[in-house]
């Protein structure tokens, strides 16, 4: 019997993928051995990130790691991928939302409609600004050209931010060539890991979301062809990847804020930042008005955050 071969493309560039996906795929290949091998490709390597969904659905690529937003998924849940403003506070919120509050079922239903298997969702880092000039107030955000996620960009535009989407690997250079003034795409761990800390000077400690939400996906037909044990193995490796990211980011964010020497930290005062949080509530309602499915997801976010608030410390402070 010949080896099953998959091509998988992540939306992360090589430097980041070294942490967020490569260990899990290496592990999969080691265990699956001659039965199956997954060849991992990085951001824009085989197809541009904007075409990822299409390529997977068509079978050009067998599996994908991305958030729904970046890969331009044609589903009702796209806006909730990546950084939906203030949807979560901690990275543990994401798996709870998917596994205990019913997001898994919604995602599964939505992706089944378009010929793609939604395998497993997980959390990454919070979303912060890394900029060339210091951000000390909302005023400072005005007119800044910032690389960010499509939906986060739509939200931030009301504060005068000019969202720009470019190929991931071009970001560092774009900051240097003046195409970008900053980045609102990650936490500080990624800023250091991928080299953005070398081209920006300031890190804003306020975040617009506590955790990135994204998933592993596969072409529906290709997934169904896999024997059950390999499906299970793949799921286990996804979980391993989710777990690795939980501690890698959580520890990394704190450590670099305290010990990092490439970026200076700035903060917008809480009462001023409250405007952004209030705007997010309005944004949620706008999104909910767009469709029934979106309303359902927003409802879940609201329920979850209310529950966390009631639960009190350590779930929510203040």
């Amino acid at each position: 019997q010949s080896t099953i071969k998959w091509r998988m493309q992540t939306y992360a560039g090589a430097a980041l993928a070294e942490h967020v996906v490569k260990p899990a795929i290496d592990m999969f290949n080691k265990i699956a051995g001659d039965r199956m091998q997954i060849e991992l490709y990085y951001a824009d390597q085989l197809v541009p990130t904007g075409e990822l969904f299409r390529a997977m659905q068509r079978g050009t690529i067998d599996a994908v790691q991305s958030d729904d937003d970046s890969m331009a998924s044609p589903t009702e849940v796209t806006v909730f991928g990546g950084y939906f403003p203030f949807a979560s506070r901690y990275s543990l919120d994401v798996p709870v939302l998917f596994n205990q509050y019913g997001l898994n079922e919604i995602w599964d239903e939505e992706y089944s409609k378009v010929g793609v298997k939604h395998i497993s969702a997980g959390a990454w880092d919070p979303c912060h600004f890394a900029t060339k000039d210091p951000i000390n107030s909302l005023e400072d955000l005005k007119g800044k050209r910032v690389f960010t996620f499509p939906t986060a960009g739509r939200f931030l535009a009301q504060f005068g931010v000019v969202p720009v989407t470019l190929p991931w690997e071009d970001i560092e250079v774009a900051v240097q060539t003046g195409e970008l003034d900053g980045i609102a795409w990650s936490g500080i761990t990624e800023d250091y890991t991928v080299g953005w800390a070398d081209v920006t000077d300031y890190f804003l400690t306020n975040n617009i979301s506590g955790a990135w939400a994204g998933s592993f996906f596969a072409n529906q037909g290709r997934w169904e062809e896999l024997p059950e044990d390999l499906q299970t193995l793949f799921r286990v490796c996804c979980d391993q990847s989710h777990y690795y990211r939980q501690w890698w980011y959580w520890g990394g964010e704190a450590s670099l804020r305290v010990n990092g020497d490439k970026m200076k930290l700035t903060t917008i005062p809480d009462n001023e930042w409250q405007q952004v949080e209030d705007a997010a509530v309005k944004f949620w309602d706008e999104i909910a008005a767009e469709s029934e499915t979106k309303a359902k997801v927003v409802e879940i976010f609201k329920k979850y955050n209310a529950d966390m608030q009631k639960a009190g410390r350590p779930y929510r402070y203040g």
């Binding site: 091509r7 085989l46 068509r58």
Partner: protein, 500 residues
């Protein structure tokens, strides 16, 4: 098929297709697309088109038509004519001076366009017939023009370095700055070679008599003595401050040093030749115009006011307006510039489109891994050996591939490897650029050689062209070796400007 076989079959297939003389983009695209259809599995057939979306998102490519347009406006509108006269009148009285002036002309032209073709065209149509008429040796002249035009892609702006930047994911600004000193170094080495040669064999480049210069109108009969070094300082120092490349106090020091140098050399005839001031100043002013265009484009960019892509548009429109203001933008010039820009841009874009598809399919079929494996594990070579082998392979490929094709096909394979071996990718960009230039002008086959053959007058045969470039290629190899040994030649300026 194993990875190695896929690599061999695809590469050999492409070479074979290229040999037939079919359009380069067709040859590359065909091999890529068919490999995608037959070897990839489901959906491989979609990759050639997904390359179109990738190309669309590659934003630095927007600069390509801008720089091409700029180059055409400058050469078609004959703004360079005055430039040539400037060098002619200023340098004419020196032995070999017209050839030296041609190199100077090429440096200025390089600062205004991104390809070497424009320099070649201007050199071959304006300088070449003039120099031959003045009794210059045809072999020296032919070599000078070919060598000089090679500066076009080394001195910023440079289209080849933009493409390299995209492939290597390195900052274009730094790459451009990295090309400045090596470009000037090479120009200086060419000039030294020509000067020494003309001193030893004066018949190769006879000095012009003042009477010969009189045919330019408005020449006065009151020669004034003026030191070239002072002049250079007057232009260079403010320019460097303006570009932000030098702090004011350093520039002051440089000015003083150059002043002292000019005092020390005041008796050297090379530096105080008789000067027919009026005409010379008029022509000097015409030399300022291209510099102004260059500054209009580069100053906002280096200072971060505009992005690279925006600056290229500023450069294009400034060149266009300059031609309009000088009354040179006739209907024909407009038509030729606009049409040729479309032709060359399309040529580039379709090759890149095909090469992106070829590259993605080559990569997705595992062939890239096979090549990396071959170099690093199987052959077990040291990093420097691998680097030198790569340079040699460029020289061989330069005999039959054009520069864009070579860049978009081969660089994606080599660049990651160079990075993995621990070399600086900005430095490598400069090495790469010089190497390809050597490749295009070394016999028996080379892109620049063919261009030269197409543009040169009938009395210059293919053999003359072949012979002519030997000393200049040797100078370039020497420059290459210097930059390999002393990477700071390339890296000092970008580090200085971008040092955080």
């Amino acid at each position: 098929m194993s990875y190695e076989w896929i690599a061999i079959v695809m590469f050999a297939g492409m070479m074979l297709m290229l040999m037939t003389g079919q359009r380069v983009f067709g040859a590359i695209g065909f091999v890529g697309a068919v490999a995608g259809m037959l070897l990839w599995g489901t959906g491989g057939v979609e990759i050639p088109f997904s390359a179109a979306m990738k190309l669309m998102k590659w934003y630095p490519l927007l600069t390509l038509p801008m720089f091409i347009f700029m180059g055409y406006v400058l050469s078609e509108s004959k703004i360079a004519d005055d430039l040539y006269r400037m060098f002619h009148v200023w340098m004419g009285p020196v032995k070999g001076g017209l050839a030296i002036g041609t190199i100077g002309l090429m440096v200025l032209i390089s600062a205004m366009n991104g390809l070497s073709v424009a320099g070649m065209a201007i050199g071959a149509t304006i300088a070449l017939p003039e120099l031959l008429r003045r009794g210059y040796d045809k072999i020296l002249v032919t070599g000078t023009i070919q060598a000089g035009s090679s500066l076009g892609i080394l001195v910023p702006p440079s289209v080849v370095l933009v493409l390299y930047a995209m492939i290597a994911r390195q900052p274009v600004g730094q790459l451009w700055l990295a090309g400045v000193i090596p470009g000037l170094l090479m120009a200086t080495m060419f000039i030294i070679y020509i000067y020494v040669r003309a001193r030893m064999q004066p018949h190769l480049g006879p000095a012009m008599h003042p009477e010969d210069l009189a045919e330019y109108e408005q020449v006065t009969d009151h020669p004034v003595r003026l030191n070239y070094i002072i002049l250079a300082a007057l232009v260079l120092v403010p320019l460097m401050i303006l570009a932000g490349a030098m702090a004011t106090e350093h520039a002051l020091g440089l000015g003083l040093a150059l002043g002292a140098l000019s005092f020390a050399t005041r008796r050297n005839p090379l530096f105080y030749r008789d000067v027919f001031m009026k005409e010379k100043y008029r022509l000097l002013f015409s030399g300022v115009l291209p510099l102004a265009i260059f500054a209009a484009m580069m100053v906002p960019f280096v200072n971060g006011w505009t992005s690279l892509v925006e600056s290229s548009a500023i450069g294009a429109i400034t060149a266009f307006l300059a031609a309009v203001l000088k009354g040179r933008m006739t209907k024909e010039v407009f038509e030729t510039s606009v049409r040729s820009t479309l032709g060359i841009s399309c040529m580039f874009m379709w090759i890149i489109l095909a090469a992106l598809a070829f590259g993605a399919i080559f990569d997705g079929l595992g062939a890239v891994k096979a090549i990396e494996d071959l170099f690093t594990t199987k052959l077990g070579l040291s990093p420097w050996m691998i680097l030198i082998l790569m340079q040699l392979s460029f020289i061989i490929m330069g005999t039959f591939l054009d520069d864009t094709a070579m860049l978009v096909i081969v660089a994606p394979l080599y660049v990651p490897l160079v990075g993995a071996l621990g070399f600086d990718l900005i430095w490598y960009g400069v090495l790469y650029t010089i190497t390809t230039q050597i490749a295009y002008m070394t016999p028996p086959f080379g892109y620049n050689l063919f261009l030269m053959r197409a543009m040169a007058p009938p009395e210059i045969g293919l053999k003359d062209i072949y012979v002519s470039i030997i000393p200049f290629a040797a100078v370039m190899v020497l420059a290459l070796a210097l930059i390999m040994m002393f990477p700071q030649i390339a890296l000092w300026l970008p580090e200085y400007v971008y040092g955080k």
